[in-house]
Symmetry: C2
Subunit: 401 residues, 2 copies
């Protein structure tokens, strides 16, 4: 490959995270260091903005703005859930060619990697030389080839704190509490609720993952068992739980789909309310509540994992460096170093390896009971989330008269 | 009154908060300084534990435990929603008499003040000399006589952060977002969402309070107007919104009531989902989401207002000091000092003044539009919540070719 010279376009795509702007800021920061890159342009609302040539000049932002934006949740450039059609890919490459855009960066999950891959293929087809790089981000942690993905650690931190507080709350005013957590096909985020435990009787008492078939009957039985045993029950349920046939249970409550064919699961309390009503109907437990953590999981500004923020920055920086040095297309993946101390390496992979498909929790992270995680998962997730609050508990020694 | 000497019982009641254990720890800490107090006993689950003589010996806890417990959300002794009947009041006073309990402290909201008042009246009726003190706590901020209540500042901080993040999220992936916030009769907590604003186009674009009649038709119109104007719309809605006749709209979705006659509003996403469906039905807006913040608002361990934590401590400490010095019954109220610098005084009031009744937002805090707050409210609430995260925003200068 010859060294590329020209303009750069960067866009953000899919559901935002608390640290997606770290990757954006880092990519811009790194781009400024390379003379091969002239214009540094942001696409408004990802693919939607590219197709309308809605570009903003990111060299016109002050350095102090970047420091603040990097710490700000949600996509600073705006996002979109849009899979480009073949015609739109042709249109996008034509726009890139017209404006001498030779570097394209797309921050997102597997769908965004697929979009970047489609653009790459179209550019190759028409013989337009450019570098298309995907920069990984997803709270779902479901990208292939990655040990974990930027965005996951901060969302996992929110979930762990939320379930910790909710367990304390439910212990105070006993009942059954159902916490519905994001994750379409992968249970990683729901699984992170296990970090909330400090004592053997702490919730979450069960963790229901989309990787294992969900039976409402067994769920009610298990929750009732926990309630009888502990005097209260807190369970974490993935929004993506599926029945024996692999049909998402939550999909029955909404019909909406995006252009990647994904069913809307978040932004409604319907699944949690339905599960609560099943418990009320089939048991004598009177106090049953459900909370759906919703968009707070991915956008809460005050709960960020420092490791996650750092890795999101490094991922954006690495993508630009690779694109300039190699002049090819690809994605950056996070590979965990072996050994006792936590650390990652950033490596390049072909786009096709992360595009489209996703991964779920590996079997070694799921307990034999099908409704809990293993110690291996806790070891995996702990360094990604960072130190959590340490709640105190009274010994509660009965008064002796 | 003669100086009282004897044992102390303390209990926690009602919905917990992030700082309710500050008041508990402070009361125990202060009690240890007074020789008039012998046993320092905690009642498990408030009134429920008192009636079963379930007392724990709080002198048997280590000092380091208290430091950790004070920082831990939710009621460390367990809580209850239980209004004692006249027979139960007689029973409680009899138990107190049998065990020489001369000091009784009850941490909670207006219902708990009412319970403490009932116990006080029963003790007077039977001529048993004791001090009954209520220690205020409620995220609803609806106690009479108080400028504000411990627990509110931390919950308000969570709400402000959550709506700030959610606005950023909704700006990224535009649509309509409805955030349902706790508060049965008082809009203070929902109103705190206004602290999330930094720019004129930031959400929450509307704030719907229980103090003003809610019209679904007007709501849909107003949300659509904001969506057309800003390209997205984020609205904060109190779970306690009422129709023209004063009937809570959310009450239609659940039938549950506690022994104080309060309808269950939290722990379900039904109100938010219904409001979202109204918008979907009556407008052409396709992306409409609702999140119900639920129990996270009052129990999240990592988002606490420092001012709130400090005041919750001082309130517990003051109650014990007053009870020992005066040997009477009462409640501690927070009175804001006049002047440019924020500060509070802790004063004693008779229990009947805060028991039972509650207050809503005063008219001067509600905007003429009926769906926003006034600058006076922002001035009132800001010092209670403390400094918030400052999100960054790009200037978004279009590229000029």
């Amino acid at each position: 490959m010859t060294a590329l010279r020209g303009n750069l376009v960067i866009g953000q795509s899919g559901g935002p995270t608390a640290v997606i702007n770290q990757s954006l800021a880092a990519a811009v920061w790194e781009a400024k260091r390379h003379s091969a890159i002239r214009g540094i342009w942001g696409a408004r609302n990802g693919m939607a903005g590219i197709l309308k040539s809605e570009f903003v000049d990111l060299r016109k932002e002050r350095p102090s703005t970047w420091a603040a934006v990097a710490r700000t949740p949600a996509a600073a450039l705006g996002s979109a859930r849009k899979k480009p059609t073949p015609e739109e890919c042709a249109q996008a490459v034509e726009i890139f060619r017209r404006h001498d855009v030779r570097f394209f960066f797309y921050i997102g999950g597997n769908d965004s990697a697929e979009s970047a891959h489609l653009i790459q293929q179209e550019a190759e087809r028409v013989g337009y030389e450019m570098a298309c790089y995907h920069i990984p981000k997803t709270i779902d942690n479901d990208l292939l080839e990655n040990d974990h993905t930027p965005g996951y650690g901060s969302a996992a931190r929110f979930v762990a704190c939320a379930v910790m507080g909710d367990t304390l709350d439910c212990r105070s005013l006993p009942g059954v509490k159902i916490d519905v957590i994001m994750g379409r096909h992968a249970g990683f985020l729901t699984a992170a609720s296990a970090l909330a435990r400090r004592h053997p009787d702490d919730g979450p008492h069960r963790i229901y993952l989309p990787e294992r078939p969900f039976s409402p009957e067994r769920f009610v039985q298990e929750v009732e068992e926990d309630y009888r045993r502990f005097g209260f029950a807190v369970v974490a349920v993935s929004e993506g739980i599926c029945d024996e046939k692999g049909q998402p249970i939550g999909a029955g409550f909404t019909g909406e789909k995006d252009s990647h064919g994904n069913v809307q699961l978040s932004g409604t309390g319907a699944l949690g309310d339905w599960l609560a009503s099943e418990i009320r109907k089939r048991t004598s437990i009177s106090r049953v509540r459900a909370d759906t953590f919703g968009y707070l999981q991915r956008s809460f500004p005050a709960v960020v994992s420092e490791v996650d923020a750092r890795e999101a920055w490094a991922t954006g920086e690495t993508a630009v460096r690779l694109a300039v040095q190699r002049g090819d297309s690809g994605t950056v993946v996070l590979v965990r170093r072996r050994g006792p101390r936590y650390g990652v390496r950033y490596e390049r992979r072909d786009l096709r390896l992360v595009a489209k498909a996703t991964r779920g929790m590996p079997a070694e992270f799921i307990a034999a009971s099908d409704c809990d995680v293993t110690p291996a998962f806790l070891e995996y997730v702990r360094p990604l989330v960072g130190p959590l609050p340490e709640p105190g508990r009274l010994r509660m020694v009965p008064v002796s008269w």
